[in-house]
C-alpha cells in the first residue's frame, strides 16, 4: 500500500522542480522574475450555486521579485517551496509550526529573517497549494493534532507511514471503540486512511464533543445505524475531509447538529460549503448536500424548552447573524425565517440546553423526533 504515498510524493517533487524551472525560463525570456498566484482574497471567492460550494475564481496575481512590495513574499514562497521539497523527500510528516521554524532563519548577510510570524509561512504554503494544485496534507503538512472523534459501523485501515520505513496498517472498527471513539488523524487523504466498509445509513456530525459523548454512551450509532462524528467546535480540515469522503465515496447523507446560535450555524456552513479563507479547497473539503438537523429557535418553541435556556444575543452574535444573512448559500426561505425568528426573539440556545428537560432528551427524543419528521434545513 505504501506505493500510494510514494506515488504522490514523487509527483510532488517533480512538480516542484518543473515549477521552479519555469520561473527561471520566464525570467531569462521576459526579464521579470515572478510568480502567478491565484487570488485567495474575498474578491476572488465565488459562490458556485450549481455545485453548492464556495470556490476560488479565475483571478491570478503576479508577484514580482523586482517589485519591492512583493520581494519579501516572493522570497518566502521560494524558500518554503525548497523546505517542502526536503520534507517530502525525507518522507516526514509535520506541522505548520515546524515548517515555520524551519524557514525562520536569518537571511545571510542581513539582520532580517525569512519569516517572523507563522502566518507568513502559512501563506506561502497556501500559495504553493494553489499554484501547484496539491493540498497541504499531500505535502505532509498538517496544522495541529487531529480534533475529530468517530464512532459507529465503519471499518477503516489506517496506513501509518514512517520515515524509517516501518509502515504499519491499523484496523479500526468503529463499533468497538472506547468512550473517546476513533481519533481522526490529522491527515485523512486516501493514501493514508482507507475506508474499507461502511454499514451506517447516515452521518451525524455533532458540534460539541461533550454532546457527542452523550450520543456515544447512549449507543445512538447502534440504535440508528449511524456514524457519529464530532470535531469540538470549528472543524479541522481532516474532519471536514473525512465527512466529505464519507458522503462522496459512500453516498451517506450527512446531518449536522450544532448550537442554535450564529456561530453554530456558521460551523454548519463550513462543513457544507467551505470557509471563505479556504475556498480554494472547497472541492476537497466541502459537503454541499449536508442537511442541518438542529438546533433552531423554532425547536425552542416546538419542543417547549424552558425560558431559562435562552441566552441573550450579544453584539457579536447580531453582527454574525447579519453576515450569515448575506451569504448566498443561506439565501433560502427556511433559513431566513430562522434568522428572523432569532433576531426577533433575541436569544440563542446551546445543545446542552436539552438537559434542562432530562439527561437523555437530546439523544433519545429530540434528534430521533427531528429525523423522523424530516425536519431539517437545507
Amino acid at each position: 500500500m505504501m506505493e500510494d504515498i510514494r506515488k504522490v510524493d514523487e509527483q510532488i517533487i517533480k512538480k516542484l522542480s518543473e515549477w521552479a524551472k519555469e520561473i527561471l525560463q520566464k525570467a531569462e525570456k521576459e526579464g521579470e522574475l515572478y510568480l502567478e498566484v491565484p487570488v485567495r482574497s474575498l474578491s476572488n471567492v465565488i459562490w458556485d450555486e450549481e455545485k453548492g460550494i464556495l470556490r476560488m475564481g479565475q483571478r491570478v496575481a503576479r508577484r514580482s521579485f523586482l517589485n519591492v512590495a512583493h520581494a519579501k513574499r516572493f522570497l518566502q514562497t521560494i524558500v518554503v517551496a525548497a523546505a517542502i521539497k526536503s520534507l517530502v523527500e525525507e518522507g516526514v510528516t509535520t506541522s505548520l509550526r515546524d515548517v515555520f521554524y524551519r524557514v525562520k532563519f536569518t537571511i545571510p548577510g542581513t539582520k532580517e529573517n525569512v519569516v517572523d510570524e507563522q502566518k507568513e509561512s502559512d501563506k506561502a504554503i497556501e500559495d504553493l497549494e494553489t499554484m501547484l494544485g496539491f493540498v497541504r496534507e499531500e505535502f505532509h503538512v498538517f496544522s495541529k493534532g487531529g480534533k475529530g472523534h468517530v464512532a459507529g459501523p465503519i471499518e477503516i485501515e489506517e496506513h501509518v507511514y514512517s520515515p524509517d520505513g516501518k509502515h504499519r496498517i491499523v484496523e479500526v472498527d468503529g463499533t468497538n471503540v472506547g468512550m473517546g471513539g476513533w481519533a481522526v488523524p490529522p491527515i485523512v487523504e486516501p493514501e493514508r486512511v482507507k475506508i474499507k466498509k461502511v454499514e451506517a445509513e447516515f452521518v451525524l456530525v455533532i458540534e460539541k464533543s461533550a454532546v457527542w459523548t452523550r450520543f456515544h454512551e447512549d449507543r445512538f450509532w447502534d440504535d440508528h445505524n449511524a456514524l457519529i462524528i464530532t470535531a469540538e467546535g470549528m472543524p479541522d480540515r481532516a474532519t471536514r475531509r473525512l465527512v466529505h469522503r464519507l458522503h462522496y465515496e459512500f453516498n451517506l447523507p450527512v446531518y449536522i447538529l450544532t448550537d442554535a446560535d450564529p456561530w453554530g450555524w456558521y460551523i454548519y456552513s463550513v462543513y457544507k460549503q467551505g470557509s471563505i479563507n479556504l475556498s480554494y479547497l472547497s472541492p476537497q473539503l466541502a459537503t454541499p448536500p449536508s442537511k442541518f438537523l438542529g438546533m433552531t429557535i423554532s425547536d425552542y418553541f416546538d419542543f417547549s424548552f424552558p425560558k431559562t435556556v435562552q441566552i441573550k444575543l450579544n453584539e457579536k452574535d447580531v453582527k454574525r447573524l447579519r453576515e450569515l444573512r448575506r451569504y448566498p448559500w443561506f439565501k433560502k426561505k427556511e433559513w431566513h425565517q430562522e434568522f428572523d425568528l432569532m433576531e426577533k426573539k433575541g436569544f440563542k440556545m446551546e445543545l446542552e440546553a436539552a438537559s434542562s428537560k432530562h439527561w437523555r432528551f437530546i439523544s433519545k427524543e429530540y434528534v430521533p423526533a427531528k429525523l423522523e419528521a424530516g425536519k431539517v434545513l437545507p
Binding site: 527561471l24 521579485f65 519591492v68 516572493f74 545571510p108 548577510g109
Partner: protein, 577 residues
Amino acid sequence: MAEEAVDIFKEFKEHSVAEFFKKNRHMLGYSGKVRSLTTAVHELVTNSLDACEEAGILPDIYVKLEKLGDEHYRLTVRDNGPGIPPHIAPKVFGKLLAGTKFHRMIQTRGQQGIGAAGVTMFVQITTGKPIHLKTSTGDGTVWEMDIMIDVMKNEPIVKNKTHYPGNWRGTEVIAEMKGVEYNKGKYSVYEYLRRTAIANPHVNIVFEDPEGKIHTFERSVFEPVKIGEEAKPHPFGITPDDLVTLSRMSRAKTVGRMLTNSLHGMGGKAVIGMMQVLPHVLKKEPSKLTWNDAERIVATFQAIRYLSENKVAKKIVEEKKEDLTEEERLHFNNLKKYAKTILGEEPTVEKVYKVMTPLLSIRIRGPRTDVLVPIGEERIRKSLRANLQPQFVAVVERKPKVYSGGIPFQVEVGVAVGGKIKSFELMRFANRVPLLFDAGGCAITEAVRSIDWKRYGFPDFFSSPVVVLINLSSTHVPYTTAGKQAIADVPEVFNEIRAALMEVGRKLKEYTSKVSAVQELLQKKKVLEHYLPLIAKSLAELTGEDEKTVENLLKKMVEERYKKINELLAKIEGESA
C-alpha cells in the same frame, strides 16, 4: 432701623488709579515670585526697545540681577537708547497712565502707559524704596534721580536729582525688589530675554544672572527695525462713540472733511459718494455731530463694506431686483437694516435701493498695513538658524489682515526642526514681545493645538524636536487681560494663525516627504540585493541548476531595473538642498 443714606455715603471718597493698581497689582502681572520679577524686566526692556526703535538705534540692552537676600533682588536695565528728557522722566516712572503711546494707533510693544510706573509701584510697595534712574539724551548732560509715586495722588515724587556733564546716551534703571525669586525655568527672566533675542535679531542682549554668569544673546541682523507709523482708524472699524469723540477734537470745517482727515482710506471721492446719502450730516460742523448722526455714518460705512465684500448683495442692488430667492432675501434684509439706520425710518424696497445704489461705487482703501512692524521672514529664518541650529527652517509671513473691521494685524510663523533642537517648544510673541505666561488660555496655543499635524508628516508633533515661533503684530493686540500674556480668541486672528500654521505645515510636509522619498528609493535596491542570494540558492535546490548561474541571472535583472535610479536620486537631492 434703616440707616440713613447720608450716613452711608459719608465715607464716600475718590481714589487714584495708582491706588487701584496697588490693590490689584496682579492685573499688571505682579503675581507670583518668579512672574513678578519677569514682569519688571519685561516692562523695562520693552521700554528700552520701543525707545531705540523709535529713534532708529540698534539696541544694546544690558540686564543684571543681583541677589541681595532672601527673595530680595536688585535689577539693573541699561540701554543705548535716546534717553528721556529730565522733565518727562518723573512722569514716565512716577505716574500711571502717562505716556506717549496710549492714545496713538501705533504698533509698539507697550501700549498703556502703565509699564514703567508699574515697576516703580512694585519696587515701592515691596521695599519702600524709589527706583534709581540715570538717563541722558546725548546732549552732554547726564541726569540721575530717585523716583517714587505718591499713591494717593498718582503723582511722582523725585529725590536726589543731580546732573553732570557726560558723553553718554541711554537710560539705566536700578530697581530693588522683595518677594521675588529668580530661577532658570520657562517663566524666568532668562527665558524671557532668550525669546526676546530670538524675536528681535537686531538686538544685542547681555544678561548677568545672580550667580554672576554672563549670558550673551548676540544680534544676527544689523539693520535697525523701522518704526511703525501711526495709523488713522479705519472707517470699517469705527464706532459711533469714536466718531463723536473725534468730532469734539476736530478742527475740520465739516464732518465730511473730518472723515477724510481723520480716517484712513477715505478719499474725497468716497465722501462725495456718501454725500448723496447723508448730505446734511456730512455738511455739519463737527462740533454739532450728534450720536444719531454718528450712528448713520457708521451704518453707511458698514453698508459700503457689506456691498464690497458680498457679491450677491451687490448684484441685487445693481439690478434692483424685486423677486428674490431665499438667499437673496437674507442679504436684502441685512441691507435694509443698514438703510433703516441711515434713513432713521423703516424703508420701503425702493428706498433701500435708493440709499444703496450710490454706495455701490464707493471704494474705501483697506486699512494701512505698513504701520505694522513684523519681524520679517528673512530675520526669523536667520534668527532661528543662529539661535537654535536646527536641521530645517520654514517661515511664513502672512499678509496683513484686519480684525473688528479696522485693526490691522499680521501673523508670522517660523518652525525649526531637528538639528540641535531636542524637544518641542512653542514661543508666543505679540509685537515681538515674548508671552511666557497663561499659555493655556491663549488663542495662539489653541491654534497650534487645533492643527492636525499628522497631515504634515508629524505623527506626534508635541513630542517632536520642533520649535514653533509665532508673532502677532498689531496696532492693538487683543490681550485677554492687562497682564498681556495671552491673546484673546478673536475669530479673525485665530483663523489667521491657523492659516499661517497650515501654510507652514505644507512647507514642512514638502520637505519631509522629499527626504523620505529619497531614502526610500535608496533602500529598495538594497532590499532586493539582500534577498537575491537566498532566492538563487533555493531555486537552485528546487531545479537542480547551478547556484552561481542562477544568482548571476538575478543580479543582472536587478541592475537593469535600478540603473536609472542613481540619476534620479541625484536630481531629487539637488532639489531638496
